[in-house]
Symmetry: C2
Subunit: 111 residues, 2 copies
């Protein structure tokens, strides 16, 4: 068991600071973590996770901005590819961001 | 930038020690890493990666053994689910291992 692998993680949040109290409500967020593969000459793979845009903030291209930022970050970190899993309904959105479908995601739940 | 996230990684290798020199050739391997989500009350998700069985060792259920071991490990580590990406051709194999398709995997290559 190797419990010490360090994965570099970058989390992005877009805040709405328009309220008078400047509390800064999070209206969009997303993360990417960088995995160093055992295979492929220890190449790096970016995994985009947890992309969420507040439903009240749709139509502002925030999702696209989040994806572009996280994708560029993975690229700058030396990843040879970035992957993410999404529902079929969101496939067209990610295609607009330059992604294409490659595989299928399988899941097993324990709860 | 948080560069210090520790992801617990477990890598399994099955060796063929039948050669006279006991060199122990790897005939099957697979890994699982445990991601702590920012969402979902910091729940844990297991990611199975890099499952490979030597073509000369097919038919011995080694792939199934690898998946069962990695899935059980993720469960014992407190994951609420395990996910993996696979080609459509391998979907039936993972269904036999108790997995079901949920989403699609999108990819963007930089090279």
């Amino acid at each position: 068991m190797d419990a010490g692998h360090k994965f570099q993680v970058r989390k992005l949040e877009i805040l709405d600071k328009s309220k008078d109290d400047h509390s800064g409500k999070i209206i969009a967020t997303g993360s990417v973590f960088i995995e160093k593969k055992f295979l492929r000459n220890c190449g790096k793979v970016g995994h985009i996770e947890d992309v969420v845009v507040d439903s009240a903030a749709r139509g502002m291209q925030l999702g696209k901005k989040i994806i572009e930022f996280l994708t560029d970050h993975a690229h700058s970190m030396g990843c040879y590819k970035v992957i993410l899993d999404c529902s079929l309904e969101n496939k067209a959105f990610y295609e607009k961001c330059g992604y294409r479908q490659k595989e299928v995601q399988m899941v097993k739940y324990f709860v």
